[in-house]
């Protein structure tokens, strides 16, 4: 199972929640599968989806799902201690761990080799970390949404990308409609 198949499965589960989505093909796939004003697409700035999601969760009470990638979490590993030490029980970090930099041609990341992001997240102090198979992501995410506890999900999947168009929405439009959805 590849990332786009996970996104397709979880789309009905996340569509009514605030979602911050990782740069590149992940955002393109989510945008093509189920564009929503509650989706904040990152068009640049690799690594900050989890930080933006945490800031958003700390600032307001609605549930926030940050959909991140293994490569992006590796480039901003400092995010995990910050998440662990600033409790936001309305925050779910879903790391789609395909063991590669998918957007740039599936080059392997260290998460696909010896490094376990699950173990790293636990060592950073995140106390509710769940690693699952791609096939179980929907169920695990539903359970996390039903609970009121900050959750980090590491979904292990295969690498591969669906061919989707580039997002041409203006960034200020993405941001504006997202903020309106936050307030709604």
């Amino acid at each position: 199972m590849i990332r786009s198949e996970i996104l397709r499965e979880i789309a009905p589960v996340i569509r009514d929640h605030l979602v911050v989505c990782n740069i590149g093909i992940p955002s393109q796939e989510l945008h093509a599968i189920d564009d929503q004003p509650t989706n904040f697409y990152m068009l640049g700035t690799m690594g900050l989806a989890s930080s933006i999601g945490l800031g958003l969760a700390l600032a307001q009470p609605k549930k926030v799902i940050a959909i991140d990638g293994d490569g992006s979490v590796l480039t901003n590993l400092g995010t995990l201690p910050t998440i662990a030490n600033n409790s936001a029980n309305n925050y779910i970090l879903l790391i789609i761990d395909n063991g590669s930099y998918g957007s740039t041609g599936d080059q392997p990341t260290y998460a696909g080799k010896k490094t376990s992001l699950t173990a790293v997240a636990k060592a950073c102090g995140c106390d509710n970390v769940i690693e699952c198979r791609a096939e179980d992501t929907k169920k695990v995410l539903e359970e996390a949404l039903a609970g009121d506890r900050m959750t980090v999900i590491v979904s292990k999947c295969e690498s591969g990308n669906a061919k989707m168009p580039v997002i041409t929405l203006d960034p200020v439009v993405i941001r504006h409609r997202f903020m309106e959805a936050v307030k709604a």
Partner: protein, 168 residues
């Protein structure tokens, strides 16, 4: 009133309720003051680009954010300033210690100081330089300006502004 209380009073008066910080010796007291204020959620970050991500999220969640950092962090955050803060047009006051200026005791700090204003100018970031204590009188206007235009704005505060480095 101490300069630190004065600065944090201005932040609070301008509705800033989310502040992220990465320490600098020069900023220690103002960070302590931020941490003490019940009106401000203080979330220390591990790197300044991460901090700007937190600020972007907090802003979209309805809070007015600010970041407190050292000028060396300009080198860390250029990509984030351009592709997140500016591209999505978000306001971000940046209270920055301007290390490597007059009265600086550490030579290495000068290496980024000589690039600081040039980099900010290249990024079209409105930049203010506090050198005398009375320059703080401009802070309130700078904060209002930042949220009026929804841009990142730099407030460089040098050693002279902070009263030097004690006995160094």
């Amino acid at each position: 009133m101490s300069i630190d209380s004065r600065i944090v009073n201005d932040l609070v008066a301008n509705g800033i309720s989310f502040v992220t910080t990465v320490p600098c010796k020069q900023l220690a007291d103002v960070i302590d003051e931020v941490d003490r204020r019940p009106e401000i959620m203080h979330v220390p970050s591990n790197k300044e680009d991460e901090g700007m991500g937190l600020c972007a999220g907090a802003f979209m969640g309805g809070k007015r954010p600010a970041i407190i950092m050292q000028n060396t962090a300009i080198g860390v955050t250029i990509n984030t300033l351009a592709t997140l803060t500016q591209f999505y047009r978000m306001p971000l006051p940046m209270l920055i210690s301007y290390r490597g200026e007059l009265r600086e005791p550490v030579a290495c700090q000068v290496e980024m100081a000589v690039h600081t204003k040039a980099l900010l100018a290249q990024l079209n970031i409105p930049t203010y330089h506090f050198h005398w204590q009375k320059d703080v009188e401009e802070l309130d206007n700078i904060l209002k300006y930042t949220f009026m235009c929804s841009k990142p704005v730099a407030i460089l505060t040098d050693a002279n502004f902070w009263g030097g480095y004690g006995d160094q």
